[in-house]
Symmetry: C3
Subunit: 242 residues, 3 copies
C-alpha cells in the first residue's frame, strides 16, 4: 500500500540533497516530499532564523498540502524539527522516523546533545560569521562521510549551505515527552555514523528517549544520502512501514 | 561431520516455531531436535508450571533419547532452561549456544535481567490472567520482530501461546557459575534485537557471564526464527561447530 | 592513484601472515610492504627484545627504503609499533590506520589496555617460558578467530611464533598525544573481534584517543588476516585512502 512520506533534511542541507533517496522510495510506490526547512532556503536570513521558525515552516508545509497519515522522517538536525512538528500536529501523522537524528527533551537544544568540543567550535565559527555555521571539510570527510571516496565527499560538500546557528542553540518547547505521543516511532541507525562519537552515540542514547520504538540499522555513515542513497531508502521504508 | 543439536525455544513459543531454522540446519547434514519445554505444550498448566519443571522436561528429553555430544542451544528464555540443563547433565553436552538468551547467575530469575518496566507490565498481565503472560502486539511488532513486514509479524504473533509466568520469576539453582563448566560456549547476537534495550543489552552484558565464549553476530531482530530462519541457521552452525 | 602502504603485523605473527591481505591490495594497484617487527623474526631473542627495538626496526625499514607519503597500518600489538614510529618520523607518513589495534597514551604499555585476567595469564606464561608468551589454543579459537572453521583456526595457529613479552610490558614514550599529530587517522573495527571483550572494547574506547579519525567497520574477528583477507583488504583501503 502506498504511503506518504515527508523527509526533513539535516543541517547544511536542503530538500534537494535528499532527492536521491526519495526517488528510490518513489520507485517503490510511495509519495515522498522533501521540503527545505526555513533557514536553509536560498535567501533565508541565516543570522536570525531560529528553531521555532524552522518547525513552523514544516507545519505550514504539511497543513497547506492538507496531508494526513504522514510518515514524518528527520535526519540529524531534522530530528529537532520533526519533534516540534509532531508536538503540534500529531493528528496528521502516522509514524515518526528518526534517521541518526536528535531526539530532544522539552527545553533542550541541539547543542545540549553534542560533545562540548563541537559546541566550542561552532560558537567560534558562528561568532566569526554572522551567526551562521559551516562544517570544516576535514571533519566532514572523516567523521560525516567516512564511507565515501574523496570525489563523492568533495562533490557533496560543495552542495552544503551555511546553517543558521540559532537553530542549534534554541531550546525546543514540547508539551509532552515524545515517548507519550500516540504515534509509531522508529529509529534508523547508520552503524558507522561517528558524527556523534560512539562514546556518546545516537543509538541507544537518543533513540531510547522515544519509549517503544522500532530499530532499523544499516551499514553506512552520517551522510548516506550521498554515499549510499539506495541502501538508506530501504532502511527508511523498513522503518516507516506499518 | 554431522553434529547433534537440541534447540530450546523462547517464551510464548513451542518447538514447532523453530522448525524452519532446524530444517536449514538439517540440510547441512546435522541432527536437530526441537522439543517443546514443559509449560508451553498444549494442555500444560500455565498457572503452576515453574522453571524447575521446564528444566526437568529438557533433561528428560535428552536422557530418554540417550543423546551425547549435544550442542544445546537456547533462545531468549531458553537460556534459563539450557543453563539449568547444563548444570545437571554437562557430561552429555559438547557446547552451549545462547541465542540472544538469558545467562543467569545462581539465584537469579529471568525477571532479574529485564528492565523494570517490563517486569511491572508482566506482573499486571499475570495478575489479571491466572499467572500466564502474553506479549502486547505493539511491543512484539516494534521491539521483537522489527525486521519483518506486518504480514509476517501478524502471522508469527498468531502462533504464540500464553507463557507460564512462574518461569520468569523463579530463581534458578546452579551448582557452579556457567563460566566454570568444562564445555564450549557460544553466544549468537542478532544485532537489531531490542527485546532488551541496547542500553541494557544481551551482549556483552549477559554473554560475558559465560567467561571464554565464541561470539557470532548476524543482522536481525529477536525473532529471526520467523523473519530470517536461513540466516539464523547459518549463525547457529557457526556458533555450534567445533 | 596508487598509494604506498606499510602493514605492521600483530603479536605472534610475522609479515608473512598478512601477505594474503597485501596481495588483494596490490591487485588494486597499490604498493604494500609487510616487514616483520624485531622480536618476531626467526632468530630474534624473545627474552630481551623490547618495545623500543620493535619500533626502531620499523623506523629503520621505512628510512632505509626512503619511503614517503606512507599509509602506515598496524594490527593489534602493531598499534603500539606504528604509534611509536609516527611519533618519530611523521614527516614520512600520510595517514595512520589502526586495525583493531592498541592506541597508547604516553607512558602506557599494551598490558595497561587489556583485561587483568589476560595480564595475569601472560605473566604466568612468560614466567614459565623465558619471557616469551604463547596464546592458548582455546582462546585463539573462540575469542580471536571466532569467525573461522576449525581447519582454518588450526592452520593459522600453527603459523604463530612465540612473542617477546617485554613488548607488552614496556611503556611507550610519545612526545605528544597521537591526536595532536598532523596526520590523517583511521580506525578499522572488525565487529566480532572479542580479543578484547566488548565491555572493554577496541572501539570507541581506544579509537577515540586518535581525536578526529575515520571509522571503517567490517564483519569479522580479530584474525581476518586468516579468516577473510579479501574483506579486510577492502576495509583497509577504505581506511587508508585520502
Amino acid at each position: 500500500m502506498p504511503d506518504t512520506y515527508v523527509l526533513v533534511h539535516g543541517a547544511w542541507h536542503t530538500g534537494a540533497e535528499i532527492e536521491a533517496v526519495a526517488e528510490v522510495m518513489r520507485e517503490a510506490g510511495h509519495t515522498v516530499l522533501c521540503p527545505t526547512v526555513a533557514g536553509n532556503r536560498p535567501g533565508d536570513d541565516r543570522a536570525t532564523t531560529g528553531l521555532a521558525q524552522a518547525i513552523d515552516s514544516i507545519v505550514a508545509f504539511i497543513e497547506e498540502k492538507n496531508l494526513s497519515n504522514v510518515r514524518l522522517a528527520g535526519h540529524s538536525y531534522g530530528g529537532m524539527v520533526i519533534s516540534g512538528v509532531a508536538d503540534r500536529i500529531a493528528a496528521r501523522l502516522k509514524r515518526l522516523v528518526y534517521i541518526n537524528a536528535f531526539v530532544p527533551l522539552d527545553g533542550e537544544s541541539l547543542n545540549d546533545m553534542v560533545p562540548p568540543h563541537y559546541v566550542a567550535m561552532f560558537d567560534a565559527i558562528a561568532g566569526a560569521g554572522n551567526n551562521a555555521v559551516n562544517l570544516p571539510f576535514e571533519i566532514w570527510r572523516d567523521a560525516f562521510i567516512n564511507d565515501a571516496d574523496m570525489v563523492t565527499a568533495q562533490a557533496a560538500y560543495a552542495k552544503l549551505n551555511p546553517h543558521p546557528y540559532a537553530t542549534f542553540t534554541d531550546k525546543i518547547k514540547l508539551s509532552q515527552p515524545l515517548a507519550a505521543l500516540a504515534l509509531g516511532k522508529s529509529y534508523v541507525n547508520c552503524q558507522q555514523d561517528i558524527a556523534l562519537p560512539h562514546s556518546m552515540p545516537w543509538h541507544p542514547r537518543l533513540s531510547e528517549r522515544l519509549g517503544l520504538f522500532r530499530l532499523v540499522e544499516c551499514p553506512g555513515s552520517h551522510e548516506m544520502f550521498f554515499s549510499n542513497p539506495k541502501r538508506l531508502a530501504q532502511a527508511i521504508l523498513e522503518a516507516g512501514r506499518d
